[in-house]
C-alpha cells in the first residue's frame, strides 16, 4: 500500500434510507427525506448526528450541506463536497471524495447522501416544453433526442452491433434485478415479479430498450457514514472498508454531440484500470456487483469494461443463473437496483454493497469479501468503488 492510496484507510460504518416511493408520491419534502436518511444512517452506525462534520453528494443534489448542518445543529462543518457533472455517474465518486477528504485530514466523519423528490422538482425522463436550446442538446432535441433513453440507446445499439450481443443479454440484467427485489421489502417492485414473457411483451421505449430495460423514477433518500479505518471497530456494525475508488472517463468522452471516440462503451476503460490498481485486486476477486442501471445496456458495457467478462462472451455470461444470488458466478444488483428497488440515482447500490460485505443482504451472495459498485454508465465523469471485509485488507 502506498501513502497516496485510499486502500483500507476509510470505513463505511452506517447505512440508512427512507421509505422508497414512486416518483411524486413522497409525503415528505426532499430536504426532510435527506434528514431522515442521514439520521437513519447515524442510528445504524450508533453515532449521534452531531458527530458529522462533512457532507458529500453528486448530481447537483439540492439538499445544501450548510442548511443540513444548521438543521442538525452540528457544532462544526468541515467539508461540503459535490462531484461535478455526470448525474448518477457520481454515486461512487461521492464516496471517493468523502473518503479522500478523511484520508487527507480535512474532516473526520462524512455523510455521503442523495435525496430526491422528483414530484417536487421535475423528472429526468421528460423534457421541458417549448423554448430554445443551445449547446449539446441543440444538436439533439430538434431531432427528438430529448431524454436519457434516446441519448443512450444508440451507444448500446452500436455496442450490440460490434459484439453480436442479443436482446436476451439485456433481458437477463432486468430479470436479475426484479428477481432480487422480490426478496427485498424496501424495494418499490417488491411483490411485482417480472418474467421473460412479460419483458418480451413490454412496449419499446426506444429500441433496443423495452420498458423494463429502463430505470424507474422515484422519491426518497439514502445515506452512508464514513470514518477513518482506525476507528472502524468503535462502532456496532461489522466493519466494511473502502478498497479502491476511481472516477473520470476516457479520451474525449465529453466530445459533444455523440462524438466520443469510444462511443460504443460506458466510459469506464480508464476508471476500471485505476480502480483495480488502487484496490490491489483483480476482476476475478469480485464476488458480487451492484451496477447502475440507467438502462440495462449500460450495465452490459460497464461490466465488460470492468473485466468481468469479454464483450464477445456477453451472451453466454449474462444469464439469470449467473447473475442471481446466492451462488451465481456474479450476483448482480442484489437489492433490485435502479430497476426494481429504487432509482436513488444509484446511491441505493452503495448501501447494498455495504450490506453484502456485512452479510446482511436480503439476497446474500456466497462470495462477499469484495463487492463492486459501478456508477452511472455512459456519462462523464463516471465512477466505481470496491468495498471489502477486514479479511481483504
Amino acid at each position: 500500500m502506498t501513502a497516496n492510496s485510499l486502500r483500507g484507510r476509510v470505513a463505511l460504518i452506517g447505512v440508512g434510507e427512507t421509505t422508497y416511493y414512486k416518483h411524486g408520491q413522497s409525503p415528505d419534502a426532499e430536504f426532510k427525506l435527506a434528514l431522515k436518511a442521514i439520521l437513519a444512517a447515524c442510528a445504524d452506525a450508533g453515532i449521534d448526528a452531531r458527530s458529522i462534520d462533512g457532507f458529500s453528494s453528486y448530481a447537483n443534489d439540492r439538499s445544501d450541506p450548510s442548511r443540513l448542518a444548521a438543521a442538525l445543529g452540528l457544532p462544526q462543518l468541515r467539508v461540503a463536497l459535490m462531484q461535478w457533472g455526470g448525474g448518477g455517474g457520481g454515486c461512487a465518486a461521492a464516496v471517493a471524495n468523502g473518503a479522500a477528504a478523511i484520508a487527507a485530514g480535512l474532516t473526520e466523519c462524512v455523510v455521503v447522501f442523495r435525496s430526491l423528490a422528483q414530484g417536487q422538482h421535475g423528472r429526468f425522463g421528460q423534457a421541458a416544453s417549448g423554448g430554445t436550446v443551445s449547446g449539446d442538446m441543440a444538436y439533439q432535441m430538434p431531432y427528438g433526442v430529448l431524454a436519457p433513453p434516446q441519448k443512450f440507446a444508440m451507444r448500446v445499439r452500436r455496442y450490440m452491433h460490434e459484439h453480436g450481443i442479443r436482446q436476451e443479454a439485456l433481458r437477463a440484467i432486468a430479470l436479475a434485478s426484479y428477481h432480487h427485489a422480490q426478496a427485498n421489502p424496501r424495494a418499490v417492485m417488491y411483490g411485482k415479479p417480472l418474467d421473460a414473457e412479460r419483458y418480451d411483451a413490454s412496449r419499446w421505449i426506444v429500441e433496443p430498450f423495452h420498458l423494463y430495460d429502463c430505470c424507474m423514477e422515484n422519491d426518497g433518500a439514502a445515506a452512508v457514514i464514513l470514518v477513518a479505518a482506525e476507528r472502524a471497530k468503535d462502532f456496532p456494525q461489522k466493519p466494511v472498508y473502502l478498497l479502491g475508488a476511481a472516477t473520470g472517463s476516457d479520451h474525449r468522452a465529453g466530445a459533444q454531440p455523440h462524438n466520443a471516440p469510444l462511443y460504443a462503451g460506458a466510459s469506464f476503460t480508464t476508471v476500471a484500470r485505476d480502480l483495480y490498481r488502487m484496490a490491489g485486486v483483480h476482476a476475478a476477486d469480485v464476488g458480487v456487483v451492484q451496477s447502475y442501471e440507467n438502462f440495462t445496456g449500460g450495465v452490459l458495457m460497464a461490466l465488460a469494461e470492468h473485466g468481468l467478462f469479454q464483450p464477445d462472451e456477453a451472451n453466454e455470461f449474462l444469464t439469470m443463473e449467473n447473475l442471481t444470488a446466492p451462488s451465481g458466478r456474479l450476483p448482480l444488483n442484489t437489492s433490485g437496483g435502479n430497476l426494481a428497488e429504487c432509482y436513488m440515482h444509484g446511491f441505493e447500490l452503495v448501501l447494498e454493497a455495504v450490506r453484502q460485505v456485512r452479510g446482511t443482504s436480503t439476497s446474500q451472495a456466497a462470495r462477499n469479501d469484495v463487492a463492486l459498485v459501478v456508477g452511472g454508465p455512459m456519462v462523464t465523469p463516471v465512477s466505481s468503488l470496491l468495498l471489502g471485509s477486514e479479511a481483504t485488507l
Binding site: S129, P142, Y143, M154, R157, A255
Partner: protein, 154 residues
C-alpha cells in the same frame, strides 16, 4: 405523402420541439447559419487538419484557437440508430415511432452528426448504410432555423 394528406407534415417531426439557437457566446453560430443556406460546416483546423464537431474554441489536437469552418458534402454512413416509441415531449404525443441515426462523415475525419432518417419509420435500418443529407427548413419558427436530415442512397 402530399400537402393534401391529412397526416402531411412539412417537417419530419411535429412542430413544438425546442428551437436550436447558438450559445450566448456564439460558438456554434456558423454551423446554424450554414444550415439555413443549405451548407454543412464543421471546424477544420487550418494548422493541423483536424476536423472537429461539435465546435469548440480550440483545436483538440494542436491547441490552436478558433479553428476555421469548412464546408462538407453532406454524405455519410450510418454509425448507429434508434427507433423511438415513447414520447418524451408533449408535441410528440400520438405521433408514433420515429427514427434517429448517428451518421459518420468519413470525408471529415469521421466526425458524427445526429439526424432523423427520412422515409418509413418502420424501415429496416442497417449500420454501415450510405446516407445523404437533406436540409429541412423551419422558416416560420421564431427564430427560424434549419436542420440536416438524412436519407439512404442505394
Amino acid at each position: 405523402m402530399s400537402a393534401h394528406d391529412p397526416h402531411y407534415l412539412p417537417t419530419y417531426l411535429p412542430a413544438g420541439l425546442p428551437v436550436p439557437v447558438p450559445e450566448a457566446d456564439g460558438l456554434s453560430a456558423p454551423y446554424w447559419e450554414g444550415l439555413r443556406r443549405n451548407e454543412l460546416l464543421a471546424q477544420h483546423c487550418e494548422h493541423c487538419g483536424t476536423w472537429q464537431f461539435g465546435p469548440e474554441w480550440i483545436c483538440h489536437a494542436c491547441h490552436r484557437f478558433d479553428p476555421a469552418w469548412s464546408p462538407i458534402a453532406p454524405r455519410g454512413i450510418i454509425y448507429s440508430w434508434e427507433r423511438v416509441w415513447h414520447p418524451s415531449h408533449a408535441s410528440l404525443r400520438g405521433h408514433g415511432p420515429y427514427l434517429v441515426v448517428l451518421v459518420e462523415l468519413p470525408q471529415a475525419g469521421n466526425i458524427r452528426m445526429l439526424g432523423n432518417l427520412l422515409g418509413d419509420p418502420l424501415q429496416e435500418v442497417r449500420i454501415g448504410a450510405a446516407v445523404e443529407g437533406v436540409f429541412e427548413h423551419h422558416p416560420d419558427s421564431d427564430p427560424p432555423y434549419s436542420l440536416l436530415q438524412w436519407k439512404t442512397t442505394s
